[in-house]
Symmetry: C2
Subunit: 585 residues, 2 copies
């Protein structure tokens, strides 16, 4: 038996007990006549003591040889500590060691195994198995496991069935980002790894599964933006005989359950906001509503004077920065520089200081009087002491710019508190999205998303205005889940394909398979999918998903620990009838 | 709202309630003035009634048009049935329909959606989404979901952490059966899909995760024997600071938990049997111990007479067939034919009938007297009325043949009862296995499996005799799980590689990566993996895993429903710098 207790377990009540412990040497202090060792495992740290009066000499000598990260086993007696350590759960005791076995030696690790390590990201990725020993990473993985288990508990209690859908599927014609997998048994043919189990979950609804979920890996072979992974995990769900409202309620319940179980936070009903309102009020379809700073549209109160910039703009819009009135000229100039950076792209920024005495001081005083500026303050909700920042230009672009400024200022003002949670449903997404490049409409969600019945007639006259039965769950300014009620009847589906610019033949070629299944009695159905990596990161109060993945890949899609991907032997390629021809440049 | 209740929910207590139901038309009977419809969903069947006195005429008329598998919604009143159906939970009531909406029509399905369908396997695989509507398949999937959830409950309660290991990993030099995945971002390079997360779970132990599990898909590109799948699911587990006994206890507990929770069967301590004993007594390392028919070795009692066949044989071994004494000559001849089939391969079979009067009648009466045969009966445990079947030849081969016969007879005698569960640990597997072809030893489990300390000295003198700390969990004659205590120190590992015929350079090339990790303080560790597909099938009282997989592939690794694998476009191949050159024959 390697241990009678873990290193997080012993308390003052265990004093005088004989125990066996195993673990890693976190650190040791050698005072000559006495050696202390911090022994670590997943569960905590226990202090070991070796001293010349009470420990056999050869054991004390051996203790002096212990290096960091050695794996050892000790037997000894629990005793009360003289100098108690209130910071750790085992801090009232230590173990007086009588026997010591070195189970494994360790080379000096390339970085310190401590909460604040001296290792940079690259070296920690390469030695990920050592990084996992550190509390921050270890705790993230434990947290992730708990979130997944609570998701399963909640959904199982609601009669959901977890069904495993296949990983070796078929590449879709539009699957430009599919990973493909050559088959040995079927020469010259390929499987594809799923970008999501979308088709299969809809087939499960046709199959009468009624309530399906799965925590499942998905794959996308694309240029990785920061904080994306080629393999990622979804909580994938689909239900039959439901309307949008049923789905929102069930998954609002699930999210509430998670917040309670893993964050000990009680949240009431989630607010619901239309896509249109979110865009107008926050310039963003995933607004962070932990703080206000809502947009005030200023067209009516700012376009009646001689300020040409505003008069020519499609939209004039501002936000109030709480207590921003005290910003110095220099600080404001820096803010203006910030919005003019290429990543944001504003041409300039007008500001108004709301003085404590009720007067205003603005960068456009020569065009606007105090009464005008008071109207701006009213529209943006600015109070005495605040700063109003105003942008103008094409509506969509300007909203996006002001949204970026809003988030930046909130970050600087400490308004994005990681232990505060503000979930939100964004609903009524547009069905179609105009693509400038191809000059046609694309499905914003996917071609199986159903339009709102009351908007159907707009399909012919004003397709961009048609709203979909599509919804996103937003948490703290991040989209953590999204889905839709699907089309389930052939007529609507054909109409939809027509509006997406497919000929009937193209529609059949690309989607015929699911369409066939729909002919054998498809029930009304809908669903959604959560990004587990991001959900866990946000519940964990962080925004980087990589820290919540045991063995992540870097921005080039490489696992630097195992050095994958890699070349494979000519023998393997030949067996698969594959030749590699690299471009010669 | 599509439904107020499911179709498995209404009882006599609901009489007079107004309800809304949705589902599929299982069948309908049209009596002219009255129509009955069986409405089906995942939860059950509810009888609907439309009649000319109480149902509006246009609704009755519409009801007459309903075809099988139409998806409908009805509103009506729950009433007590005149002719009650005790076979279904809702059999005391029916719903008198007032409103009927056809949600979706259905073409006639290619096979009947009934427990005993008229559809053959091929057509059901092609229309798997319809097959899933049938109770046998649907219930299997629900059962699988429940087993997985109970596994997670048990392991989570034992402090196991579920960690997701990557699917896009590196092809190993010996990974001849790896699926490989070309990378777009890393030109000319490939990922591989994991055959198991073995390396990663051992790295998690080096990383201090202490108790890891994962329900995870694994992949193997090989000729598919019957009832194998190119993608399959494992319950993968690993623990640090454990000995074999700890692991057996924990997973015996897990299996007991499952049997209780999903089969309502209480099982006591699992018997443990050495590999050697299993081979000698059952001719098999995964014996079905739901029934006896243990082998009796007859060398000492059968090799002293003039029967040359036995005298020349390395092994003479028999089993007693309960009540087989009544077999006719013809039946016995058929049995002899059966063992002589190429799949079994025996050259012949000697038999002894144990008459009710205590005398014996054998096929070798001219060599053996009654006293001899009485000794055979004693050795095989045969009683009056039994039949003794005796095979002879090279020991291993003969044991395998008799094992096949034992299983066949048990099947015929109905001794393999699907609702009876006999788990068993088989322990002390050999560390090495002689490979005739390459004329060297191979690791029976894998090269990281540790040898038993007390057998270490045999490594040099008699390597085939060295036992490993390796174990299998056997249930009803199927291996459902297996694992080992791993080597965790460099010296033993190097010794092991030497005995497996690796040069130090080869060892480094093939296993250097994990070996490096072992240098930074690897704890003692071990684990095991269960085959979830098989475990679920056996707990479900069946032996075919395909029926417990939502979307299985056929013996050629094809998904005939979606027709995968398939050719991919030249465009995609070019992007991956891949050319296909099929052999021309």
């Amino acid at each position: 038996m390697y241990r009678s207790h873990t290193n997080g377990e012993l308390r003052i009540e265990n004093a005088n007990q004989e125990v066996t412990l195993s673990g890693w040497v976190q650190k040791s202090r050698d005072k000559g006549f006495m050696v202390w060792v911090d022994l670590r495992d997943r569960y905590g740290i226990t202090q070991l003591i070796f001293d010349e009066d009470r420990t056999p000499k050869e054991i004390l000598d051996k203790a002096k040889t212990l290096g960091r990260e050695f794996v050892i086993q000790v037997k000894g007696t629990v005793i009360e500590r003289e100098a108690k350590n209130k910071n750790i759960a085992t801090g009232e005791i230590e173990v007086l060691v009588k026997e010591l076995t070195i189970l494994n030696e360790a080379k000096l690790p390339p970085f310190t195994i401590e909460d604040n390590t001296d290792g940079g990201e690259d070296i920690r990725m390469k030695y990920r198995y050592l990084d996992i020993r550190r509390n921050p990473v270890k705790n993230n993985l434990i947290f992730r496991s708990k979130v997944a288990q609570e998701v399963r508990n909640y959904l199982s209690n609601q009669d959901f069935i977890e069904v495993e859908t296949p990983y070796l599927i078929k590449s879709t014609p539009e699957g430009a980002r599919d990973f493909i997998v050559p088959s040995r048994m079927n020469e010259g043919e390929f499987y594809a790894l799923p970008q999501s189990p979308q088709t299969f979950k809809q087939l499960l609804m046709v199959g009468g599964m009624d309530k399906y979920f799965q925590i499942v890996k998905c794959f996308r072979d694309e240029d990785l933006r920061a904080d994306r992974q080629p393999e990622f995990t979804q909580i994938d769900c689909e239900l039959a005989f439901v309307e949008q409202e049923d789905i929102l309620n069930i998954f609002e319940g699930m999210t509430r359950h998670l917040l309670k179980k893993v964050n000990n936070v009680e949240i009431g009903d989630f607010p619901r906001m239309t896509f249109e309102h979110a865009m107008k009020t926050y310039g963003n379809d995933k607004p962070d509503i932990r703080f206000g700073m809502e947009f005030g549209e200023l067209n009516t109160v700012a376009q009646h004077k001689d300020f040409k910039v505003f008069n020519d703009a499609e939209l004039v819009v501002g936000i109030a920065v709480p207590n921003g009135g005290s910003y110095t000229r220099k600080e404001i100039d820096k803010l203006i520089e910030w919005v003019k950076r290429p990543q944001v792209g504003a041409l300039g920024m007008v500001y108004v200081k709301c003085n404590e005495d009720g007067t205003f001081k603005s960068s456009v005083d020569k065009f606007y009087d105090q009464e005008d500026l008071a109207a701006w303050a009213k529209a943006t909700g600015a109070k005495a002491g605040d700063l109003i920042c105003v942008l103008s230009g094409p509506a969509n672009k300007t909203r996006a710019q002001l949204s970026a400024l809003r988030m930046e200022l909130a970050e600087r003002l400490g308004l994005r508190k990681s232990n505060e949670f503000a979930p939100l449903w964004v609903v009524d997404f547009p069905l179609l999205e105009w693509d400038e490049e191809t000059e046609r409409y694309h499905a914003m969600h996917h071609p199986f998303t159903s339009p709102k019945k009351e908007d159907m007639e707009l399909l012919d006259t004003d397709p961009g205005k048609v709203r979909a039965n599509a919804y996103d769950l937003v948490l703290n300014g991040n989209e953590i889940g999204g889905g839709s009620i699907r089309i389930y009847d052939k007529a609507t589906q054909e109409l939809m394909f027509k509006h997406l610019g497919f000929t009937p033949e193209e529609a059949k070629e690309q989607f015929g398979f699911l369409m066939n299944a729909f002919e054998y009695g498809a029930p009304p159905h809908g669903g959604l999918a959560f990004g587990l990596d991001r959900l866990v990161a946000i519940l964990g109060g962080q925004e980087t998903i990589r820290d919540f993945i045991a063995f992540p890949k870097n921005n080039s899609g490489r696992d630097v620990m195992i050095n994958a991907p890699a070349a494979v032997s000519q023998e393997v390629l030949s067996e698969l009838n594959i030749n590699i021809t690299l471009p010669t440049e």
